[in-house]
């Protein structure tokens, strides 16, 4: 399982939870698992061309990724942030 940090912008989907566990061996698979439990969450973060939305940031540990194919190992942490979208 992957530890996932949920940003405030998405807590309306997770019932207020900011730390979750999710299954999957890639970033995309983990987001799919979250979307199955919290419908609609993934599309707010990833567009229909599988691109990370402009003002969202994904990190595996301390490494930023913008690829859904980025691998995740058991115990990894996926951090989702909403960042710098303007006033």
């Amino acid at each position: 399982m992957t530890h996932v940090l949920i940003p405030s912008q998405l807590t309306s989907y997770t019932g207020g939870e900011t730390r979750l566990e999710a299954a999957g061996s890639t970033v995309g698979a983990v987001l799919e698992d979250l979307d199955a439990r919290f419908p609609g969450l993934k599309f707010r973060v990833i567009d229909e061309q599988d691109r990370v939305r402009r003002h969202m940031r994904l990190y595996v540990g301390r490494e930023e990724t913008r690829s859904l194919a980025a691998p995740l190992a058991a115990g990894d942490e996926l951090l989702i942030f909403g960042a710098l979208s303007g006033g």
Binding site: F43, V45, R53
Partner: protein
């Protein structure tokens, strides 16, 4: 019969609903709804009087549609909001935001249409729960000519409007910011440009087949063969079946000009319409000309215009009224409503004396008037 009205207000930071008494004199407010969300359009379904759809996104999160089936009391997210097909094309499109929501024809309950940025048309057959791409427009062989990727507006190019002929569900018009107006007679399967004689002052060819920026189009409710257009480059009228627009904005006062975002026809008089001019000179401030906001009314199909500014600030009011933020109700006298970029909500009876309903809202993007408890 009551003349109670509800105003559905979309802003850069959420939505509000204002509901009036039977005389439209006092208003009570519901909101904020989805505070912080960018709400481009909030629309009531006139066919059932209770379903509302909201086009929303946030600075961070992608676009979605929120639905209410109880008149705005509770909301849930659409199961499948508008989205283009996945593609390997390097120009593959992703919906940045939904801009316009249009209830389908009266004969088609549950059908809705959505216009999005980048320009795209979507259809729902289940009251906005799921949405399908309208291939006839979105995959048209000339799509990339009509909607080039580098076209404006500053917030991205738009399919900014869907208009349906109330006499025929198959006849529809769309307005775009990159190609002008397009029409279909088969409910979206085939499309053709409808821009003859509409100026395009920002291209070498001043009167192209397409390429115009159609800020707003409207049919006269009592004569749907009459189309009004507030274009980026002037005010126009078209009486079908003709295809050549007439520039009626030439009759506007020269010091005001005929640039604006929106035009509202009268609910019962097909010769009457209102515009809300903005400053389109030099660097295009897009504010009230001279800092003195006013609407202009024609009662003769655009042959002449009269200024209506009573009740509005007389100086230093540099507001703008955006595309979807000027609307009318169907009452008699007919209520006219504006929402301003300064977060003010105003109303008047057919332009005769403006009065403030609300202030201090975020920048207003859209105002929709609908009967309350009809």
């Amino acid at each position: 019969m009551t003349d109670a009205i509800q105003l559905l207000v979309g802003t850069r930071k959420g939505a509000w609903i204002y509901r009036s008494d039977a005389r439209r004199e006092t208003w009570r407010v519901q909101g904020p709804i989805f505070l912080g969300s960018i709400v481009n359009h909030l629309v009531l379904d006139p066919r059932d009087g209770t379903t509302m759809l909201m086009a929303a996104s946030t600075g961070h999160l992608g676009p979605t549609i929120f639905r209410s089936t109880d008149g705005g009391e509770t909301w849930a997210e659409a199961k499948s909001p508008p989205a283009f097909a996945k593609s390997d094309d390097p120009r593959a499109r992703a919906v940045d935001h939904s801009f316009w929501l249009e209830p389908g024809h009266a004969s088609e309950p549950g059908v809705w249409w959505a216009g999005v940025s980048p320009p795209g048309l979507f259809r729902s057959a289940d009251g906005g729960e799921t949405w399908d791409s309208v291939a006839g427009f979105n995959d048209h062989p000339r799509y990339w000519d009509w909607c080039p990727p580098e076209a404006g507006t500053p917030d991205g190019s738009l399919l900014n409007q869907v208009v349906i002929d109330p006499r025929d569900a198959r006849r529809m018009y769309v307005a775009t910011s990159s190609g002008g107006v397009f029409e279909t007679a088969d409910q979206g399967q085939t499309w053709s440009p409808l821009n003859e004689n509409v100026a395009c002052d920002f291209q070498p060819d001043r009167y192209p087949e397409f390429g115009q920026d159609a800020h707003y189009i409207a049919l006269s409710p009592t004569n749907p063969d009459r189309l009004w257009q507030q274009n980026h480059c002037g005010i126009y009228r078209l009486d079908r079946p003709a295809t050549r627009w007439e520039r009626i904005g030439d009759a506007m006062p020269r010091e005001i000009g005929d640039i604006g975002f929106t035009i509202v026809p009268h609910a019962r008089d097909a010769d009457t319409a209102w515009v809300w001019p903005m400053d389109g000179t030099d660097v295009w401030p897009r504010t009230s000309p001279g800092g003195r906001p006013a609407c202009y009314r024609t009662r003769d199909g655009g042959a002449s215009w009269e200024r209506q500014d009573r009740g509005l600030p007389t100086e230093q009011a540099w507001i703008t009224v955006k595309r979807q933020a000027f609307c009318a109700d169907g009452c008699d006298p007919m209520g006219l409503y504006i929402g301003t970029t300064g977060g003010e909500l105003w109303m008047s009876d057919e332009g005769e004396g403006w009065r403030l309903i609300a202030a201090h809202l975020p920048e207003i993007y859209s105002v929709v008037a609908a009967p309350l408890g009809a």
